[in-house]
């Protein structure tokens, strides 16, 4: 029997920790951002917080001008979005129907931090990662590197 291939996201602990800090700060609104890395590398190297233009507990949208500025910067440096992260503040860390229908970065890992079981300060959070391509969601393991 052929070994099954399991998708894995490798990401530094500092980036996961920074997402959780961001999610707690913005709770109960959704926080969002990216971790960018060299184009084609699938290696997330730099976390960039993005403004949630919706400032909403149930929706997020990168502030368009900020997203465009990041796009231009990445075009110059040869980088791309490796991870898109956002938080769910009242539901589990699983893509919502809106997340699935609006997913527009097929090369990216979609990480979701849920602060539903906690609040802005302490308490448990969950972090999960997915691929979302053509409406199909595939969960992947997160391999945290030190």
């Amino acid at each position: 029997m052929a070994p099954s291939v399991t998708a894995v996201l490798k990401i530094a602990r500092e980036h996961v920790d920074a997402m959780i800090v961001h999610a707690r700060e913005d709770h109960p609104d959704e926080a969002c951002g990216v971790v960018i890395g060299p184009e084609g590398s699938d290696v997330p190297t730099r976390l960039v917080r993005m403004i949630n233009a919706e400032r909403s507990p149930t929706f997020f949208r990168f502030e368009p001008q900020e997203q465009f500025t990041l796009y231009k910067e990445m075009s110059t440096t040869g980088e791309e979005i490796v991870v898109v992260y956002h938080s769910h503040t009242a539901t589990e860390a699983y893509p919502s129907r809106t997340d699935i229908s609006l997913a527009s970065e097929p090369q990216a890992h979609y990480m979701i931090v849920s602060t539903a079981g906690s609040d802005a300060s302490e308490g448990p959070v969950s972090v999960r990662s997915f691929r979302i391509v053509d409406g199909a969601v595939t969960e992947e393991e997160i391999h945290i590197t030190e």
Partner: protein, 90 residues
């Protein structure tokens, strides 16, 4: 000369994988019609019912066309058009 239209990863299935295509036209609408003729289906992913789709941002020379006429935004040889899907969800 022509107008360069930068295509996001998710729409490169319509351009044979090309990151940018070239077209002509005096307005964004005309440019999109022109590139759609060679990349069928591309325009439908950007425009719906003759207006820009809500979750697609378009820039002509760094200017968000929502503030400069939408599909009627003026274009000219040498311009760069960037198509950038909004990163959004719930």
């Amino acid at each position: 000369m022509s107008i360069e239209v930068r295509i996001p990863t998710i729409l490169r299935t319509y351009t044979g994988g090309q990151k940018a295509v070239h077209g002509n036209g005096a307005t964004l609408q005309e440019v999109l019609d022109d590139i759609d003729a060679r990349n069928p289906g591309l325009k439908d992913r950007i425009v719906e019912a003759e207006v820009l789709r809500r979750f697609v941002n378009i820039y002509v020379n760094d200017e968000d066309v929502r503030f400069s006429g939408g599909l009627n935004a003026a274009t000219a040889d040498g311009d760069v058009v960037v198509v950038l899907p909004a990163v959004a969800g719930g």
